[in-house]
């Protein structure tokens, strides 16, 4: 059973602003039937160019309904420019949190709002669904731009989290590698900017082991998990790190390359440049 907080349940059981506005200034639709959720948002501006009325209709679970409902309250009285800045994280915060697997419900809310605003700008009447960028996940029709957005806004570092937030990778799974590349690209940028701080020169042995452990669990493991594998740190002897591959990795013919290109490269980058990684012998 999902652990919904009181606020989520309250907005699900007593949704505010449910319905549809006739002759709206903006209409946005987001989601799809295949995914099991769909949100239609309509709004009307007042004389002061602020959102005077906004209503939603949702086909979806409790968190989809609650996210949509609380978002309508958040945008009421805002200008278009202010409303545009609302992110899925703002919606989640306002709700006091959502289960991790339900984050995509809040993303749907944000996207419907953006679609409604785009619709207002491009002309009234017809609902639009934007499809910016290149489709990465064909099962759920998610583009690279959408994936990048959730990664940056929610500080995501695993494919699994991306799936929780925007569904990409949750169907056949064939795009998981591509999602990982997007994560790597964004993280690469972020880490470079933070590198100066995370690279203490003199490490005690204990600090080194801790850093190796952290690098393996944060940098290496998510990569291997995306391919059904895993890795365990067995021992550290001086600058020699001994690891064991698990799951799919243990039978993988390219494990040797993974060892050099991924494990060793990451450890050299984040711990010290003279690290040697070896696989545990049977």
């Amino acid at each position: 059973m999902w652990d919904y907080n009181k606020k989520v349940m309250e907005y699900f059981l007593h949704p505010r602003n449910a319905g549809e506005i006739e002759n709206p200034d903006g209409v946005g639709e987001e989601g799809s039937l295949a995914c099991g959720d769909m949100l239609k948002l309509t709004f009307k501006l007042g004389k002061d160019r602020r959102i005077a009325d906004v209503k939603f209709k949702t086909f979806g679970c409790a968190s989809a309904i609650a996210s949509a409902s609380i978002m309508t309250e958040m945008v009421k009285g805002l200008t278009i420019e202010e409303a545009e800045k609302i992110t899925n994280k703002d919606i989640v915060d306002k709700l006091g949190g959502l289960p991790e697997q339900k984050m995509h419900c809040s993303v749907m809310g944000m996207e419907a709002l953006q679609a409604a605003i785009a619709n207002y700008r491009t002309g009234k009447g017809k609902p639009t669904k934007k499809a910016e960028g290149k489709i990465v996940c064909t099962c759920f029709g998610v583009t690279d731009k959408e994936i990048e957005k959730v990664i940056i806004e929610n500080d995501i570092d695993t494919v699994e989290q991306v799936t929780n937030y925007c569904k990409a990778g949750g169907g056949c799974g064939s795009c998981r590698g591509e999602i990982q590349q997007i994560i790597d690209k964004i993280r690469g940028k972020k880490e470079k900017s933070a590198e100066v701080h995370t690279h203490p020169k003199k490490l005690t042995n204990l600090q080194k082991i801790q850093l190796i452990q952290r690098t393996i669990s944060e940098q290496v493991r998510p990569l291997l998990k995306a391919h059904g594998g895993d890795i365990d740190l067995i021992d550290v002897e001086g600058n020699k790190v001994i690891v064991a591959f698990r799951g799919m990795c243990s039978q993988c013919p390219t494990a040797e390359f993974t060892m050099k290109d991924v494990v060793e490269a990451r450890l050299r980058e984040f711990v010290t440049s003279d690290i040697i990684v070896e696989e545990q012998s049977e």
């Binding site: 949100l39 239609k40 949702t58 979806g60 679970c61």
Partner: protein
Amino acid sequence: MAKVIYFDNNATTQVAPEVLDAMLPFLKDLYGNPSSMHTFGGQVEKYIRQSRESIAGLLGCDSSEIVFTGCGTESDNAAIKGVLAAMPEKRKIITTRVEHPAVLTTCREIQAQGYKMIELGVDKYGQINLGELEAEVDDDTALVTIMYANNETGVIFPIDKIAEIVKAKDVVFHTDAVQAVGKIPLNLNKSNIDLLSLSGHKLHAPKGVGVLYIKKGTRISPFIVGGHQEKSRRAGTENVAGIVALGKAAELAAKSIQQENTKVKKLRDKLESTILKTCTGAMLNGDKINRLPNTTNISFEFIEGEAILLLLDQFGICASSGSACTSGSLEPSHVMRAMGVPFTAAHGSIRFSLSIYNTEDEVDFVIEKMPQVVNRLRELSPFVNER
């Protein structure tokens, strides 16, 4: 706790009061280990024997063919992996797309190890094509595993016919009968079923005990090894209280099975036909004729299952759903998808599963609440344009 209307008996059942009474002494004074040499422990053995007899009575088999396990999932794992281990030269396994995860995940794991796995599809009634099955069973096939009755829809496969087809090709046949045992009469002596899994908590025994029926002469390697318990077919100190409980539950089931097919079926039919009439966009999933007497699976178009369940929960009504949202996955139930139920309906599928402990008053209460739950969510749905 507030009033609970428990219509989720395919998930688990309440422990029968008689079963609780029967098992309690083994959690108190009679705590001995049946393998011990002393009388205090050894005396427990005869209660295990009695339980074995009761279960054999319910299944229509010999008590020596009953192996106690920890749960239905363990029985499925033991059957599938045990048969494959006993005949390593055969590399193919046949199952269906609508199996319980206990079977499906096990088979897929084996497939990842290089086995050929055939998943037979089903039609819109949830039935497989027997001709297709017959064509797939060949010399390389180690095992055919097909469930007796589906947990989500209650659809019953023609297991005797299936077992006959498989036996004619001299291949081992296993069936996951977790949902069938206690609800429909079985007679294993007269069938060609080689292996059958059942689970205690689905028939009013507690969780943590199951059975694997192994027909005499079936080649199978043990799944859990260690001590000599269960004639070395399943090692581990016996869950004596659980085993005694399951024996008592089997005795009770043998007596109440008639009621399942009269009283329970009547309640289910009333619930189902009324909901289909009074709720907008409601449709039945599965095979109306060949199915368990206690189960109904109804889809409510354009609304979502988790939302339905949470609103029912407000009234203390317990049911379950094949919606993606209830599972934490992003796709609706694999059973609904295999039957080709449209997405608009698959996400709104609700399963009600009754037991002999349910009453007509409870059915009437659910019948009263259901239309308002459905209408409330339909009002929120962007797919519905009423007025």
